[in-house]
């Protein structure tokens, strides 16, 4: 099944300012969309609304399935979408258990969890850290763990907010390689917010410029 996200005439503001103004966009392909714009332009706000973490003031956010039916915003839909924060939220437990979280709550059995988690940890180069308490990871490692934890649940939509913030050049290269590998599997629509242009142009298929509350180009 393949999901499509349609945003129409979206408005969002906070007390003293309007952040998103009549914004419309369609995410309908399994590729990497990169939302760019200066600080405070509304990238995070936009991504959170897309990921159903916030509600717009006006306008519509709908996920359609492959038969073009609007999906209700219930737990079934929420489990196909995930969002990784700039400062990865870390559970006070091992790296392994952090990454296994999404699988556990979905009721996977131990054996499946083991093989999936081992595989994804290997993919992000954290296998040797699996027993370490995740709170003790460096910020670059924590970023990769956050990515692994999101990937392991095989989301249809993966939202990444500033995936290269707090990451050194070498780790940015690593994250770029990982994202390109995910992209090649063509199973996930990836939406990234960043102001790291080289990174954006390396991984992005579409660059969305957010300016004055609208998407240009």
């Amino acid at each position: 099944m393949s999901l499509k996200l349609v945003i129409s005439n979206l408005w969002k503001g906070y007390r003293d300012k309007t952040v998103l103004k009549d914004l419309s966009y369609v995410f309908d392909e399994k590729k990497v969309y990169v939302v760019m714009g200066p600080n405070g332009s509304g990238k995070t706000t936009f991504l959170k609304i897309c990921a159903l973490l916030e509600t717009p003031d006006k306008g519509e956010v709908h996920y359609y399935n492959s038969t073009n039916k609007i999906l209700p915003k219930d737990i079934n839909l929420l489990r196909k979408i995930t969002y990784v924060f700039p400062e990865v939220g870390i559970f006070n437990t091992s790296v392994f258990d952090n990454v296994a979280y999404g699988l556990k709550i979905r009721g996977f059995n131990k054996k499946e969890i083991n093989s999936k988690v081992e595989e994804v940890l290997d993919f992000v180069g954290l296998s040797h850290k699996k027993k370490q308490n995740a709170l003790t990871l460096s910020s670059g490692e924590a970023k990769r763990m956050g990515l692994a934890r999101a990937m392991v649940i095989k989301p249809e939509f993966l939202f990444l907010d500033e995936p290269t913030a707090f990451v050194d050049a070498e780790n940015v290269k690593l994250i770029e390689r990982l994202l390109i590998q995910i992209k090649e599997q063509k199973t996930t629509t990836i939406v990234i917010a960043t102001h790291d242009s080289p990174f954006a142009f390396t991984v992005g298929d579409e660059i969305l410029k957010l300016e004055n509350g609208k998407i240009l180009g």
Partner: protein, 234 residues
Amino acid sequence: MDFLIEAFKQAFFLIVNLDRELLEIILLSLKVSLSALLLASVLGVPFGAFLGMKDFTGRSLIIIFLNTGMGLPPVVVGLFLYMLFSRSGPLGFLNLLYTPTAMVIAQFILALPIVASISQASVRKVSPIIKLTAKTLGATPFQIALTLIKEARYGIFTGILGGLGRVMAEVGAILIVGGNIAGYTRVMTTTIALETDKGNFELALALGIILLSISFLINLLLYYIQKKEIRTNL
């Protein structure tokens, strides 16, 4: 001076020989206090967690009541329950006065505010990003609640152990509702009170030493938990 030394000697003799009476009193103490604590935890942890997670009008008032309850004088709880359970009281028909059950209820009331209040504060302290992270990974509201409780586990254990420390040490409430009946409702603290009164220091001292050791163990555990929490939250 001599009588002090003699009393200590006798007390150690009782402990080393695992005196039957001593053992029975210790076991009943543990049974009453641990049952009360179990009940207080089963109710107090989810209730505290709920208070820590939700915002609603009246929440602050409930927390202030709970914090007041943390300092509730045990004799007042004893008095209140005595009036409820006495023959002419509203719950007199239950025949609970002077039974271990009444003692469990009394200690449950003493432990509940501590467990609930500290659970509340611990869950409240969990970073909001944890809740959001659980949500973005597909957790249901119930699974999110369990995750927050798990994140607050060290604080919650601290609350439970604090509750245990309080009920193990109290004498006012269980003396009034238990009545200190030999072989039935006599526990460590009430025995100490009674035997001291009668001038029988050996048994009282032996129990005092055991009570102190239990308190030491509880604090050892608390120290270990707090150290662990600090280490993992750097």
